[in-house]
Symmetry: D2
Subunit: 386 residues, 4 copies
């Protein structure tokens, strides 16, 4: 193996424990949290069901498990539960549920106790909130998100071996959610109480935390907390097998003259090391296509902390993040189906400190702030004008 | 999505529970088993350390964490613990340990109690059996295998982001072990007591079980039990990111005029749905290169049972299995470093019932036994002459 | 760049000129040959048109340009001429034409003169022999093959950008033909007179030539001559973009329970360096899927001669060639539509000298003939029993 | 095959003949042009030879054929001639030669006659201008570019089979040059006289031609003419086998903290349909990495004309082109080694008509000019501020 060419290659700091601390914690309940297996599905409210169905079924090739005039139940190729995504027709584009599967039916009792102690609104429906799923608990969590927990679910055919049905961009798993919330350290503390573990985060030297990734299943995340005005949904992510599958999705969008659904990427993330693409659906809901992060299942899995000014943190190739990616996100609903009010972030915004007149990003630690080559200056300098 | 072309595509039977039953069970200990995280490393005894180092380091590009005149400690690109493979010089090619990482230091006490109750020989070394690893328990398990359990381990750099070091066939994770044992149902019962869960298996209509795959981490397996004369080690498997990485390994072996290290594949497994390649190292130890099986972490993950006569069970493309793959395997050592005696399998052998004069395989259920096209007849019919 | 690990890596001999000489030449015509651009299409006679259509359209995803009750005209994704493959219903499975496109309409006059001088039967049809193609010349060439030449052709949409239509195994170009003929040197001499240039060949130390690859367009071949009983058609080959596309075809055949259509591969060729797969269609016609050979367009492109005993010549990974691949091939028709009689090869057969009791193959030049490891012995030794 | 989802997918206009006309033609010489095989190598003058060697050899893994203190001769993995790129130390970063290989030695006489008749400065050196190459002709062509023609060349090992040397981003062929010139139609007319054929171009409804692609070998181009201040060199392009190889180059640049060498991409071109990446070397010379365009070798290969306002023309996924890509390019040298003066383009600039306040781009023909979604507005609108 050859000697590395650079002394200062991968610069994020690796620590044994989550380095995020909050000064405004949500009290830890005495009740034990439910044993969450994984993020399982998202329920999206869409304003034009046919347009959304076209996007998710005809363009992204998700599989329809079941549908009616109001709702489409979709799954990915390797899934064996009823759905990973529900499209429900409604007046306002929003997220109705971030749904997690728990290990046992009894974990629903734990969920009720956990959130009741937190003073949250809790609703349990033995018949479930969506088709294909039984006894379920939905809550308005302390951050304002509609979280769901369930165990009972209808099994359907796992299409993993059905290569006669695969398309070039086949989506094989739901990988993760991503949520926007104003106070990331406060959110992390609550999620850790819920049993999540931080795998990576973005901070600055002053101690501001801009984002954190947290997992139950042993991937980089089941959900992430992104600092910003919230509660809002930043994106939902599906996995492909290989990188060429993601490229095939872009190519197909081009062929359909729908390339303006591409918001950012494809690229390689610094955080998570995954290959990615961000799309916007007909309502503007953001969908990530994602592949090849790493195993995180050991309890002492090293936590990776990235400097917010490291321009390879969000894109390993240094491609700037488009401003809309920082500022736009989907509303989330309360248990009555009304949009939750959005609270402004008061900490520094990642966009402000990295793009444009107020911020800077470096490729190599120690570079002068104005060291960008000519072809990068426009990309990084113009952000403040938006 | 188009209509499937075939009515009888993927034919394995899917059930909710492991369908394997034994009439000769090892009694379940009252002591709780240790909480195993994952298969972590294998210790291989090799007869020519330099030849083995060439194979694993110069050809397969595993990373040397540490080495001395007797031992080489190797890891894969995404690993953060000290090693996934130990090559130790010795007089007889064999396996000294199948090593699993457990969740907590206290799980070692559980391992001691569990195996002591089973009447097994148990040895605990606070300083570990290999470099980089602390307090460890080794046992001669009820099947005769040298199993190890540890928690304390030295962390090393996770090279996931070090693309300056990647080679075209980069190995990124240890994926699983595979063990040969005469009585598969008896082995499965013991492994379930140890906390493993069956994901797939191969049976026949008469109820003979030929092999079973079992997991702790949520992949198809951490180890598998393959029916045959045992205890022996069938293979150790490393994962790549994509299929082309596996092809690159074959291409490199060709360029080095070492292609006779390829025993079987590359191909697509039926069981596990992974893309695979089997190599033989300079001592004949078998190494699998493997990519893209599926998530199995839900407790009700469907169990897939394949018919032993389905010629797509071990290779989805119907390529016959070379006889050596069925018959050859590595010796395993007892805790004194002496080879364990090998006990003959008394159940039917998978090779006998599927290849040659005594057996048959079909591509489509219901095909006549002699329905093979001319180009398959030689491959499937000649096995009995070996 | 690291030092190569092996001193005797790639061993074929590279020479400046085609090293093949014949003692029984077909006289070179005084008439200039037509200026051939490339192999353009094959006309296949199939006995069950619906079954063949299913195979080429539903399984291999070739595009139907046009069809009627007797005939299906197919093309690949990047083609802009009317077709690359014609399936025509007939009583005997055979090849009706190997068709080449020539540079100008006037090259048809040259083709007539060239073959007339050779004493061949020649038929010219201003309206063409198949739909979509104009003025054409068909001949029974000196080796007994039905060769066609045309220039005028209907243009159709080049679907290169139509990623909405691509499937995981999309075929993008017709790459080459492969013909079986008893006397390879004699065939090569004639093809060189026709304007082809040898790029690679297989010989032995005694001077027997087993096969030769020849090109017009700057790839490794537009056609190859394979030694055997002939005239017969060995295979027709289509190109994919990447290796995973070929794997996808195998995976799909598995899902459809049609894996017995796979005859050989996938693998990496030594000759041509391409990644390959051989299928057999419902009539047994052989189709190769092929990707990534190299540029050969310079007049002094080095000629690569492989030793017939080098077991990496046909598969770079040393996988043995299945006997049917050597012995089975399709009949070809004369201009009346009658099968040409097949003449036996009198030179040594490649299969006999490389597999089984009469032959041997080596991985490394200088290896003992019996140096095969256990897992290769069965594969290479049993061939003679067929 | 499913029905296309969009009626207006791929919109470029396809015609049988080059639709570019000039009102200011360079007279066609009576002398026949040389028979050019392909673009063969570029001679780059670099200001820091060690830095450039690091970039091309240690980062991009080109193979060193030969080197001395002033010069490094590099080739790609499938090349058999001495070099595809020469790095020569000099005071000003520039291009010393765009070099083409011709079919025969006699073609050099034709080149001399052709350019002498054009009134160009011509210099012939029987010993060649660079090592490894014999008799050569260099000219200052009518557009001011230093063009070279040669036939005699030293053969070196074609490393195509040397997979022991391949790296994840291996470059396998020189694919094309790209030149900046003020008057594209005038340049095209001269290049057609030289024997090139147009494969694709970019125009607007007013008849302005912004760029044209032209080929000798049957790919989309051996060189392209890009409208802008010139003569300058826009880029030199090398091919990889697959798309993941290009991604691997980006990943490696990230690992080396050299990601600011990435100027644009990776992406899919509209023009050429190839997958691409643009890098800038230590002197700012632009290098493209490129894979998978299509066969163009038929004389009636359809010409594809793209609308300059089609935002999928240069990137099929609609990613905007960074302004530096339009404005920056390398100087070219005259035969005395002095930089050629740069003449300003007087036609509209592609950047001005497509980005920012003066221009617009559409995803779907007929879209309103302000139809861009929020996430595209910043990217397309801010260009004018640079």
């Amino acid at each position: 193996m050859s000697t590395p060419l650079s002394q200062n290659s991968p610069e994020p700091v690796v620590t044994a424990q989550d380095p995020i601390r909050t000064s405004d914690p949500i009290p830890t309940p005495k009740a034990a949290p439910p044993d969450i297996l994984r993020c399982a599905y998202m329920e999206l409210v869409v304003t034009d069901l046919q347009a959304s169905r076209n996007f998710y079924v005809d363009v992204l090739d998700l599989v329809v498990t079941e549908e009616d005039e109001e709702t489409v139940y979709l799954r990915s190729f390797e899934e064996f539960i009823h759905h990973n995504l529900v499209l429900r027709k409604g007046p306002v584009a929003a997220v109705a549920a971030f749904s997690y599967r728990v290990r046992t039916p009894e974990d629903l009792d734990k969920a009720v106790a956990f959130y009741t102690e937190l003073g949250c609104r809790v609703e349990r429906r033995p018949e479930g909130f969506t088709k294909g799923i039984g006894d379920s608990v939905r809550v308005e969590d302390p951050l304002g998100f509609p979280y769901e927990f369930f165990h009972d679910v209808e099994h359907v055919e796992r299409l993993a071996w059905r290569y006669d049905l695969y398309t070039p961009g086949a989506l094989v798993r739901l990988d993760h959610f991503n949520q926007v919330t104003p106070d990331v350290p406060r959110a992390v503390k609550y999620m850790e109480d819920l049993g999540f573990r931080v795998t990576e985060d973005i901070q600055d030297a002053e101690g501001t935390t801009y984002a954190a990734w947290m997992r139950r299943k042993p991937t980089v995340h089941d959900t992430a907390m992104t600092g910003g005005d919230g509660p809002r949904m930043h994106h939902v992510a599906f996995a492909t097998h290989e990188k060429h599958n993601i490229i095939a999705i872009c190519d197909k969008l081009g062929a359909l003259r729908l390339s303006d659904h591409i918001e950012r990427g494809p690229g390689r993330h610094g955080v998570s090391n995954a290959f990615y693409l961000y799309l916007r659906d007909p309502d503007g809901h953001r969908v990530e296509i994602y592949t090849q992060d790493y195993y995180t299942g050991d309890p002492d899995n090293p936590v990776v902390t990235w400097d917010v000014h490291d321009n390879q943190r969000r894109d390993w190739w240094g491609s700037p993040v488009v401003p809309s990616w920082y500022t736009e996100a989907s509303l989330v609903l309360d248990l009555d189906g009304e949009p939750q009010p959005v609270i402004a972030r008061t900490d520094s915004s990642e966009m402000a400190v990295t793009i444009g007149a107020d911020g800077f990003s470096y490729t190599r630690k120690g570079d002068e702030p104005d060291a960008l080559p000519s072809w990068k200056q426009g990309e990084y300098k113009l952000g403040h004008q938006l």
